[in-house]
Symmetry: C2
Subunit: 370 residues, 2 copies
DNA sequence: ACCGGGCCCTAATTCACATTAACTACCGGC
DNA sequence: GCCGGTAGTTAATGTGAATTAGGGCCCGGT
């Protein structure tokens, strides 16, 4: 049997006795359809069905049309095993929203992360989709710049900034969520707060800290101490405890001496500060929340594996905190992307509120309670 | 600022003082590169780098006929909440294998919820991909027939058969796995076996039973009893126990009377036979494996939800069984699909061995042990 | 000189589709 | 009968890259 060629619009045109242009008008639906007589329309659709036609997306996107495909590019594996629980809701949100608006979702897995080579299939592979949702932490700035230069529509999940350009993104509103937590604490009577954050320089870290300062100001308090801990993602899990326990013990003593009654902890990306803090506090006889109220500005990292050194550094307490609206972020990203596609406007940003979790690590300050 | 167009091969050609064809030869590497003088080569590559060139894959696939996109179509939702744990490994396998071979993965979600059809408006969406992996139980036969007619390359995960046509699929080798379990039991000294299966007429059910009969024959035993239980997916969970406990109690008594020392249970798709059997056996004072060895031909169904009537029908025993190589099936499907694409040959099938799990519900027969 | 034959390179074509200007009937108004 | 409008269709063009047939050019052999 001959290798049967896929049917093209020309084939349909021939079969229906019209021109290829007419076929295109009918197939692309919407706009052009109104200019085509009904009987021609049905004749064309008939022939299309008969010949098993389907559009060639390559040709369509070459010409600049719509594919009804949204891309999802992740800077890590799309179905990561380790972080499955973390990424899954994002995927879910993106997939569902995509389906709801009648698009298909293209997972870009073929693009290898890391230093991109121009002459291999690069990131411009994204262009087979109408637009793209980008997900992941290890962002390659050069790639992004290239996308911007190409004027390709994309939306980040998570706040991203690139000097000199406006990027589109959806981001959790860490700032407001943190501010609200500060106000909750001050509302309970806390007057001396401490703030603990990783020593990185990421956007989310800055947002939270800004929220903290804003909350402190709103509550009419003077500036409160902020401490940065060296918790880059680099140290192996085995060393994390040794690395953190000493500085945390020292800080704990200082706070007690200074009359600090509440602590806000930015959990960073992958760090184990919370777990170490819990152990250090127990050892020092500091009860949470009896002696010290603690809130987590996000979600404590889940264990990377179910056992081993890492599992020991996972806390099981029900921390007072807020959570990321992960599925909501995925959905919002899709909708923002569609907006961009429709009006071709400038980059825009969207924030989605975080969800507060009551938890049981917050109480009134000791001086008030006692 | 003018909307800066991205660089094309023509631009590079102009910059390097050569023709577009030469640029193509250099960029595409491999074949043509050998025909291009070294200094021309470097000049072209230079210009390409300078202009920030990258290939337009849309154009490339237009010409080449390949999109480098594999589709994944599921007859149920791609990310179902309750079956997440079941489907996830398939997705993982498909995604990883797809990435490894340099393809992207297109999830067909645009199709309306409910019973999913491939040909919705008469036009086949799947064809935007080079080929497609199909996943799910509720298969629409008309759609499949249409795909076959269109000569569209696809591979099923799970054994599928359509009268009159050969379909491509990858399937777990239930037959061999079941046979091996029979031989393990007879190797331990069991001489009277019983076999329990759902009363459906699905391929996997038949495969297992055939494996059972083969094993029995291989062991030199006469035919052993086979019982079908009415466990279609229809009855609501609340009634399952009532429905099954009586016939199982009766069967159990019969087996005991007949000297049956080992039981093989086909767990079907969604059924709770194992859990009911466990409860009934306990009530009747039959110890597993002391009085009766039991093997499960697959994996006991996970609970649909964490609590409620359903959770009570989930067994926590470590049944002797075999498991589906789910990620492996996903991977195998992708590779089989690629083979089909490359040689355009006829449909073919692939079986993947199941993984035996030791478990603790098998022992020597009582008469031997005692 | 002329021819033959590699070696590099180019012009032209092809791929499937979208878009647009133009063209053809057809019809009503005057 | 002419003008002008409109609905329906078409021919032509553009999109970026791959491929192929062939065309210069140089060099060695005769």
């Amino acid at each position: 049997m001959s290798p049967r060629r896929r049917a093209t619009q020309v084939d349909i045109a021939r079969a229906a006795g019209v021109s290829q242009a007419t076929v295109s008008l009918v197939i692309s639906g919407g706009h052009g359809s109104e200019q085509v007589a009904e009987h021609t329309r049905t004749a064309v659709l008939d022939a299309a069905t008969r010949l098993g036609y389907s559009v060639n997306t390559a040709a369509r996107s070459l010409k600049g049309g719509r594919n009804h495909i949204l891309g999802l590019y992740t800077f890590e594996s799309v179905f990561p095993t380790d972080q499955r629980d973390f990424y899954y809701p994002f995927l879910l949100g993106v997939e569902r929203a995509t389906a709801e608006v009648g698009y298909d979702l293209l997972l870009f897995s073929s693009v290898t992360p890391g230093p991109r080579r121009i002459y291999s299939d690069g990131i411009n592979r994204l262009k087979v989709a109408d637009g793209c949702v980008l997900l992941g932490r290890q962002v390659d700035h050069a790639d992004i710049a290239e996308l911007v230069r190409d004027d390709f529509p994309f939306v980040f999940v998570g706040r991203r900034e690139l000097p000199g350009t406006e990027l589109s993104y959806v981001a959790p509103d860490y700032g407001t969520a943190t501010r609200d937590l500060v106000l909750r604490l001050t509302g309970l009577g806390h007057r001396r707060l401490a703030y603990l954050r990783p020593d990185d320089d990421q956007e989310p870290t800055r947002d939270r800290e800004a929220g903290f300062r804003a909350g402190v100001a709103d509550a009419g308090l003077p500036d409160q101490p902020v401490h940065a801990l060296p918790v880059g993602s680099s140290p192996p899990v085995e060393q994390v405890f040794d690395l953190l326990s000493e500085p945390l013990t020292t800080l704990l003593a200082t706070w007690r001496a200074d009359g600090v009654t509440a602590l806000l902890v930015d959990p960073g990306e992958n760090d184990r500060t919370i777990a170490v803090l819990e152990q250090v506090a127990t050892r020092a006889g500091v009860r949470i929340p009896g002696d010290l109220s603690v809130v987590v500005l996000g979600e404590p990292s889940p264990p990377l594996s179910a056992r081993g050194a890492d599992a020991a550094l996972v806390s099981t307490r029900d921390w007072s905190r807020f959570t990321l609206p992960r599925e909501g972020l995925g959905r919002a990203a899709v909708h923002l992307l569609l907006d961009l596609l429709d009006d071709g406007g400038p980059a825009r940003q969207l924030t989605v509120p975080c969800v507060p979790v009551e938890g049981d690590t917050v109480g009134p300050p000791a001086s008030v309670a006692g």
